[in-house]
Amino acid sequence: MALKILYFASLRETIGRGGETIDLPDGAATVAALRDWLAGQGGGREALLTAKNLRAAVNQKMAGMDAAVADGDEVAFFPPVTGG
């Protein structure tokens, strides 16, 4: 399934890009499975596994690692937020 992936803050810098469009092979369609698959693609994406307190959003809403992802979703990965 096609997914739009976004990276922010320190993750964006480590991975060297703000986002990408991917075609995730069939299988367990959760944020955690997506994270693991991306990390396996290399190119700095291993940071998804080593990042402390990795956070995610699905379609611009905060989501846990067990949240489902579906074709066409926008999934963002980022460190804990530090605004205000």
Binding site: L6, F8, A9, S10, R12, N53, A57, Q60, K61, M62, A76, F78, P79, P80, V81, T82, G83, G84
Partner: protein, 162 residues
């Protein structure tokens, strides 16, 4: 006027406070908060005496940020009797002393305004997708999230029951 703005431009806190109650005779109280860029003591502890923050860059997640802030305001409205609410968060490069964030809440009586203003800031700190990067003489460093911010947000769940 929008309740929520994410912008590079500075804001006029006095004008924002005035606008919260203009032509609203039911408003009896306004509570407001302004957050500033600090020449940070934390950075000195972490990167040495010359680690004073020279500037701060704020990154955000366009689209999600506005939704998250609107959702926080909606939750505040569900808990307290509020009149107008205004949240402004700046992004981009900011210097020490510059304003970063404004939260203003108008209500009939002060208790609702005080509580909602603090609630909105506590939730913004932990739920709105902003990230700060400090520029110091030793280089750039991303600001770590603080456990005290999580604790501040959590206490509303204990006392508020959600």
């Amino acid at each position: 006027m929008n309740e929520v703005s994410v912008q590079e431009a500075d804001f006029d806190a006095g004008a924002e406070i005035a606008a919260l109650t203009a032509d609203d005779p039911q408003a009896g109280a306004v509570a407001s908060f302004v957050g500033l860029v600090r020449a940070d003591k934390l950075a000195e502890q972490k990167v040495g005496a010359d680690g004073t923050v020279q500037a701060m860059s704020l990154e955000h997640y366009p689209g999600m940020t506005e939704q998250a802030l609107a959702e926080i305001v909606a939750q505040a409205r569900g808990r307290w009797e509020l009149r107008r609410v205004r949240v402004i968060h700046r992004v981009g490069r900011l210097l020490p002393g510059e304003r970063i964030v404004f939260v203003g809440v108008a209500s009939g009586h002060r208790g609702d305004a005080f509580a909602a203003c603090e609630f909105i800031m506590d939730y913004l700190k932990t739920r709105a997708p902003f990230w700060k990067k400090e520029e110091t003489p030793a280089g750039g460093r991303w600001v770590d999230a603080r456990e005290t911010d999580d604790a501040a947000a959590l206490r509303w769940q204990v006392s508020g029951g959600d």
